[in-house]
Symmetry: C3
Subunit: 273 residues, 3 copies
């Protein structure tokens, strides 16, 4: 299958930040095993220990990478504990990382073909540390996969249904109002809500719908940022299909004092029976 | 021409920041189309929506990249509006991005050979979103270019003179004083002024010249950072040839409370007739 | 030797930060000379001018990169002054950068085979600036090395013992107490101390040992982050083998108001005779 090519594409997602050598060292380990691999940072700026944000970014991204891509994902507060390290294949791509919920959205998106726990020490660095499995276990697993080792070699098979799935936020109908939440706040201050298609489109198609954030109302509906009035937030279908609150040329999150997890009520739409 | 090689170099400049998967996703799209391309981040930390800073960084950088380089540049507050997406060739390099002034300096530096608007949907992702043309239109255009598609295939020819050019800051003589501006403040706090060679060198060669920032004077002239006295700002020819105000081991911008666009008056030089 | 391969791996370490095009431009220069090189960012977020932090990150990282790797390291407050630019080989890897102490730890780790000063202008950009040797001298040196030029071609031989070595922080016994220091604070807020193996392990094996930070005591000893009680700092062997103070799910540095260089006293261990 596609993963067996030597010229592999590897995408990294971590909470390691830019200021240490942690990401660089993992890349050194990988390239020592698979010198021809192409490495891409998906992001290394997941907030520290924020497994759910890591999971969300993976969700909105992974299918834009070609078949054969190997995802090295490390947001790993439980490193060295009994949480498993795993690797699995899904839709001709591979994922490697801690089994702590980081794959929660991917596992909703698709069903893995094959899952293993990373317990074969032949494919780890010698004497792995208790605190940096990214370097000592996950990066070597990825490097070996990229150099042609079969996923099944990395360790014992794992029942796919046993993989950790975190409860995922999802807007709920409550007395005729859709109680949504700020799922993610991006670097521009756009607030992405836990409202997916086709509900996103239903809401935007009805000009009576509003978002309520405390006592503030968001009434504008726009298709693009530049359609929005300045200094007034608006509702928009974001590039992942989710409903989002945006502010033209500014940060909606800042204007509305919204943080991840905060409630946003959507009114004006009849709840589905 | 050089662009037709399969082993293309692609340089990215965006305002997407590190914390989302936006840059990574564009790279996934590109590498799906051109698996052998080499990707380099020029910068992804242009201040949000700051087209002019993006244009400036491009200006000081693009000729250091080899012929054949494709620049993917996305600072795009008008995404989804009527602003065009364009691609053009200049000095054996290609540029792809929104036609909103991001190329203003490049178009002063050189004259494009060929310009097209990105309207051929065969080279876009299916059903492009209204809010993320970086992923749905620009990255595919770059990926196709890198895989050997001719630039002319991407869309209809555009008259080069119709490309958007922003008014660019430029120091002006006013009553014997050169009224300059802080054009860019770099990560070290160096303040780069809108004064270019040969004027930079004329100013530095004359030991009587001073920079006035409000009531403060910068009188030191240095060739290198380490020549400067500590705790006192100095004038220096920066690596782009522009006149700059620097502080040894510190931030000149912070010491002088300078922000982009602020005026800096240069005295002591006779204005050219 | 390994360095002569055309498909070189190049690792960058700088204090240039993300917001300018400085790192990108160096990569453009390198890839113009060595189009097949693989570039990896070790980190570009060394605090501005902080040579010792750059040296430390290099120390904990370089041996994880494969033989043949070329390190381009630029933390260079003395750019353009009489400080030398150098290149050297050690354990089949090469290092290129300013001779200002940035290699202090690497030179403790191993002895270079061959050192040259970068004075051969044939391998520099024409008319190098006085303020950006990263672009004009170091990147070209790396690009030429990666394309097969022998290190000895880059300039005159230098006596290895003449390379600048900074005094390195090291914990000291003082009246039965080990006076250690915060050597590095990583992106998670972990505080890494200047205590190395085997002393790290001796301290952690003795349950009576404590760290004193002002009037606060750190008494917990843990092997992994998840073993630690919440809201209480703990001592741990970090992934580089150094003793570290950590806080589960938070920043130990913030909780203890520790900054780099601050003293941390370790008690409860008998000093070795």
């Amino acid at each position: 299958m596609a993963l067996m090519k030597t010229n592999s594409l590897i995408a990294l997602l971590t909470d390691f930040g830019p200021q240490d050598g942690y990401v660089g060292v993992m890349k050194g380990v990988i390239l020592g095993l698979a010198p021809d691999a192409t490495l891409v940072d998906l992001t290394n700026a997941v907030p520290p220990h924020d497994v759910l944000t890591g999971a969300w970014i993976l969700h909105t991204s992974w299918r834009y990478f070609p078949e054969g891509t190997i995802f090295l994902t490390v947001v790993d507060p439980g490193v060295g504990s009994k949480r498993r390290g795993v690797a699995f294949q899904v839709e001709e791509r591979a994922f490697v990382g801690p089994d702590n919920g980081l794959f929660s959205y991917v596992l909703v998106d698709a069903t893995p073909d094959r899952v293993v726990s990373l317990d074969n020490s032949a494919y780890q660095l010698p004497n792995p540390s208790a605190t940096f499995h990214g370097r000592d276990i996950f990066a070597p697993a990825v490097g070996h996969l990229a150099s042609g080792v079969a996923l099944g070699q990395l360790g014992k098979p794992v029942e796919p249904s046993s993989l950790v799935r975190l409860p995922l936020p999802r807007a709920e109908w409550r007395a005729g109002v859709l109680a949504a939440h700020a799922l993610h706040i991006d670097g521009f201050g756009n607030v992405i809500l836990d409202v997916e298609p086709p509900l996103t489109d239903l809401i935007l198609a009805n000009s009576a719908t509003q978002a309520l954030v405390g006592w503030r109302r968001v009434t504008q509906h726009v298709r693009t940022y530049s359609e929005a009035s300045k200094n007034e937030c608006a509702l928009l279908r974001d590039s992942s299909g989710h409903l989002a609150i945006i502010l033209r040329g500014g940060s909606a999150a800042q204007m509305l004092h919204l943080r991840r997890g905060n409630e946003v009520r959507i009114t004006g739409l009849r709840s589905p029976v």
